[in-house]
Symmetry: C2
Subunit: 201 residues, 2 copies
Amino acid sequence: MIEQYPSKYLERAVGEIAKLPGVGRKTALRLALHLLKQSDETSIALAESIVQLKQNVMYCHLCHNISDSQTCDICSNPLRERDTICVVENISGVLSIENTGQYKGLYHVLGGIISPIDGIGPAQLEIDSLVERVAKGGIKEVIFALNPDMEGDTTNYYISKKLEPYNILLTTLARGISVGNELDYTDEITLGRSIQNRVKL
Amino acid sequence: MIEQYPSKYLERAVGEIAKLPGVGRKTALRLALHLLKQSDETSIALAESIVQLKQNVMYCHLCHNISDSQTCDICSNPLRERDTICVVENISGVLSIENTGQYKGLYHVLGGIISPIDGIGPAQLEIDSLVERVAKGGIKEVIFALNPDMEGDTTNYYISKKLEPYNILLTTLARGISVGNELDYTDEITLGRSIQNRVKL
């Protein structure tokens, strides 16, 4: 069914909004009609914030996190522990870990994960720059905080091989049952690992 | 928990995107990071389409549907039946009915529905302009296609009282069981009405 929109501007806006991930044409239409109802300022503020985001955001030259300056707030913060690097897939990883308030070291954003099926190999990721950071010295530990899946494990393995010569501590996030989860609903692989990696009370 | 974003541009974009209905801050962040990954053109096309939508869309001076010109494509189409007006709450109503391909008359967009609880009275809606259109003559039937709820019924009643003096046919959408729905899952009010309004096979 080809929907007939009463205005080509509406049609274009719906088309553009529907390109966002997880947004279908029905939702896009609802959002476009919502924007039409709002004041000019509200809708233009949204549009402007998107343009400004694209035009002004920079990437930290050290950790590749997004930043408003050449070096991000975390890398330039003298209170952070400079001998620990946490490797994450993308910027949301940094945000998630920062929100725990449990980590005081630095980060390294890979910008993706090794996934041959999607045509992403090590060369597309910020792996060489991580090895360079470690090679410069002063790093005691690299923590891998990638998703606990096959791509994550492959990437962990690839990078750990590259970092082996530097004789530093390589760790990964603990895997086990989630806090608040019921044992009955925990999958057997997770449960199996948490028995293997049980900790002293 | 106050989330710390690594860039004020990201923070602003997330704030603006999260103002959209049904979009929380987590989704807004996901969308903003998605836009950051896209080419400049893609993101700027989205922003521009929103600005263009706000700046260029007009409202038809007859039916108040959105339009690219003073009179919308439906009102200016000589093939539409000019003696029938379908009253809808908003623009999505027009789109929904147009998509059925079953209606060849004109529309009238109220721009809302009488809802004292939300402070919306008849004066805020395009009711006077509807009465004017009918008063000019040439209209045989007004079809009410508002939502089948209390506000819809109130609005139907209010407008039908206003249109009574003109002696035209006033109708409303048939209410009954949905095509494809199971009787067991149909609520009793709907089922009751569809027994009362049963039609000959």
